[in-house]
Symmetry: C2
Subunit: 148 residues, 2 copies
């Protein structure tokens, strides 16, 4: 039930925009930082933009910006924006319906899985992009905004 790498890279993107603090960053710049392709970044930015977390500025000198303060963007928001598979996958083929266990197992475990998922999400809601940006600044010994 692992997540894709999208979540980690999306947090990376948003953290980059947060430390840049108002100066637009191009997808190519972000791709260099994340060590991937610019199209991959643009795909993620598309999802983040749909979720209202970022916005784009076209044309020369353009790039991406945070659509709201980093303090208001929780890791949970990022998670929801870029992950589309269920945390727990169930049986690939539905279990035997005419069987005492198979016919009821899904319904029986669902509540426990839901509680686990909610616990994960509640924890992700406690950290914001601003927190991550501050931690990156502390580790890298620089201050925000950072001149690139």
């Amino acid at each position: 039930m692992p997540t894709s790498t999208r979540f980690a890279v999306a947090v990376h993107i948003l953290t980059g925009l947060a430390v840049s603090d108002g100066k637009p960053l191009r997808s190519e710049d972000l791709a260099w930082s994340a060590n991937t392709g610019a199209v991959v970044i643009r795909g993620l930015l598309s999802r983040l933009s749909d979720a209202g977390l970022t916005r784009s500025q076209l044309g020369a000198g353009g790039g991406s910006l945070l659509a709201k303060p980093a303090k208001k963007i929780r890791l949970l928001d990022v998670y929801a924006a870029v992950e589309d598979t269920e945390l727990f996958s169930l049986h690939r083929t539905p279990p035997c319906d005419s069987c005492a266990v198979g016919g009821n197992i899904l319904e029986a475990i669902q509540p426990a899985l839901d509680r686990a998922r909610k616990a994960l999400e509640a924890e992700l809601a406690k950290t914001t992009v601003a927190d991550v940006a501050a931690e990156v600044a502390r580790l890298g010994k620089f201050s925000i905004p950072l001149a690139w």
Copy 2:
């Protein structure tokens, strides 16, 4: 990411063994209930056995049994036994090390991800196979042990 159905099927297997309550079940029987192949079940049983959750009885009339009371098997134990990938995958290729954000982002987000993972695990530790078996019995309106 391709998510694994192993956890759900493993819980299914253990629940089946729990309601069977001492009567060995063959991998073929479990495969029928889970609507999959017997070899898939045996692969999971191999992991569960390594984790000390089940044991096998060879020969005619044989099959698999729980290695300890269902009440002592937490969903967390099952999860640990059959899932081998990290909950959160990080960048496929390590981010740019010579970059202020890329060089520190992994270390910066790790604590938050660890807290989220621990929250998930703590929740999974609260439910046991016996709980799931009882719920299946309630939904299916039968009592344990179940005659197959």
